[in-house]
């Protein structure tokens, strides 16, 4: 199949995924809002900290801006590609034998369409609320562009991490608890529940080379103008390196897993 045809196939997958998501609009809206509400409450806790001790924490505006960014970025790294597990368990992978599609790309596009839609929806819905609360940011154009470059990479690395767990369903049948566990680690170390620089120095110095802080903390601080372009590029490079490593690992798991696949379903 030609490149153009391939693109149109995956374009269709994205379109169908969006239609599927929008079929139950209230449900989708609630699912988008739930984590944002959680982050709003977290932001209010850190605002209370700022009120109690302004010298040792972010300022009010900084806190609001930071958690606004966290709420927006959240859905790009916290999603559940559970369909991979379901297809492995129930024999749904067999359909890829007769379809001109790569299962890995299919899930990447399908889950991605939903995640980016949720992100866009939150951006539209929360911008007025954030401004009403005192949201303020004035990034340099280059910082804004670099931030935009982060978005697909955040999603890609998160997808690889989470789907690598899901692919283990070839061997373990039920694996959702591990995936849930990973999202908890995401929330803590990515800086969604608290700014990464609030961690003790020793924790920061170790985790800075992991993908986690670059999934939320680094791009948000970049957007706030608190990190330089060089620091932003450094974070993005770390994420890209992790992306390559995880892609190799993921491909290895798929290759080995397919050999275990029986296609009978349970």
């Amino acid at each position: 199949m030609s490149y153009n045809n391939q693109m149109s196939v995956y374009g269709l997958v994205a379109k169908i995924s969006l239609q599927d998501t929008m079929e139950y609009r209230v449900n989708f809206l609630l699912s988008t809002l739930k984590y944002s509400l959680m982050i709003l409450f977290t932001a209010l806790v850190w605002l209370a900290v700022e009120q109690a001790n302004p010298a040792e924490s972010y300022s009010r505006v900084e806190t609001i801006t930071y958690f606004f960014g966290a709420a927006i970025l959240y859905t790009l790294s916290n999603f559940h590609p559970y369909e991979i597990e379901v297809d492995i368990k129930q024999g749904g992978l067999s359909r890829f034998l007769v379809k001109p599609m790569n299962p890995h790309l299919f899930y990447l596009v399908k889950v991605g369409a939903e995640s980016f839609l949720a992100t866009a929806l939150k951006l539209i819905a929360f911008l007025p609320i954030a401004f009403a609360l005192g949201f303020y940011f004035q990034p340099h154009l280059s910082q804004l562009l670099l931030f935009c470059l982060y978005l697909p990479v955040i999603y890609y690395v998160s997808f690889l991490l989470l789907s690598s767990i899901s692919v283990c369903a070839f061997w373990f049948t039920e694996i959702y608890a591990v995936r849930w566990g990973l999202t908890v680690i995401f929330r803590l170390f990515s800086g969604i529940l608290l700014p990464f620089d609030y961690f003790p120095n020793v924790v920061q110095s170790v985790l800075i080379y992991s993908p986690f802080p670059h999934l939320a903390y680094t791009p948000i601080r970049l957007l706030q103008g608190q990190l330089s372009i060089a620091e932003g590029v450094h974070g993005l490079t770390i994420l890209l390196v992790w992306g390559v490593v995880l892609q190799l690992f993921n491909s290895f798991l798929w290759r080995r897993g397919i050999q275990e696949y029986e296609g009978t379903g349970i």
Partner: protein, 266 residues
């Protein structure tokens, strides 16, 4: 009495079956056992890090706020084991797969099966962990905790659990009206995480949310005040009024919901 014994016998059978099902996938179950404690530890760490930045939040010291967190999580985990998990699964899969048909033909209330048929035994390690933290906090704050305070706290907590049950089952009845309503409970669950903090650190509108809409303040904040020798009787009065209101709303909602049920699974 005979009816109560029958329900107890049914619940006993449900519990044994759940344990057997849980151990069908041992590795996943083992990770599932760890997920609850991991989630709790993440929230605990966030709270503790907040207290490294400020000595008091909303007039609550670190030990007092940790008591609120532990009381809230002891009760919330208990509700999760007993009924939240069942209600959740009912909204995710149950209603659309027509399971209510099965419940209607059994010699017990459909609401009993909807709310109590899938206890989440995997949360027991988290329950044990939260109880351990609670006992530690009571020991640390031993000077202020008295027997009468304990008794009043137990009373407030029992009323809080009852109110919580009425509220959550009322919202679950939306599943009969909406085709896909699972996110209603997910939203409820995420807002409930805020119960770990003293309610008074949040702005008034969100306090109202945590008291009257998602009444999680009565699972942590109010019982903890009784333990600490405050006597917030006005909160108990409000709790009773809310219980009365929710009894009426709950009755009406379920009557309407069951009438709407068409038994058409899809």
């Amino acid at each position: 009495m005979h009816s109560l014994r029958r329900y107890f016998h049914i619940y006993q059978q449900i519990f044994i079956t759940r344990v057997q099902m849980l151990f069908a996938f041992r590795l996943n179950t083992f990770v599932h056992f760890l997920y609850g404690p991991a989630y709790f530890i993440v929230l605990f760490v966030v709270q503790q890090l907040a207290y490294t930045k400020a000595p008091e939040l909303g007039g609550w010291t670190r030990d007092q706020a940790t008591l609120v967190l532990s009381v809230c999580f002891v009760l919330y985990t208990l509700t999760f084991i007993l009924y939240i998990s069942s209600l959740r699964q009912f909204l995710w899969d149950g209603i659309r797969h027509g399971v209510v048909d099965q419940y209607l033909t059994k010699p017990a209330s459909p609401l009993f099966f909807i709310a109590w048929s899938k206890p989440d035994i995997a949360q027991i390690p988290m329950f044990v962990l939260t109880v351990a933290l609670f006992l530690r906090q009571v020991w640390l704050l031993g000077d202020t905790v008295t027997v009468s305070g304990m008794l009043f706290a137990v009373l407030a907590a029992a009323l809080g659990v009852w109110l919580h049950y009425l509220a959550i089952t009322t919202y679950t009845s939306l599943g009969f009206v909406m085709t896909k309503a699972e996110q209603v409970l997910e939203l409820f669950d995420k807002v409930s995480d805020s119960g770990q903090y003293p309610t008074n650190i949040f702005p008034g509108s969100l306090q109202f949310l945590l008291v009257a809409v998602v009444p999680v303040a009565f699972l942590g904040y109010v019982p903890a005040q009784f333990l600490l020798e405050y006597r917030p009787w006005h909160w108990v009065l409000l709790e009773c009024l809310l219980i009365l209101s929710f009894v009426v709303i709950h009755k009406f909602a379920w009557k309407y919901a069951i009438r709407q049920y068409t038994s058409a699974s899809s």
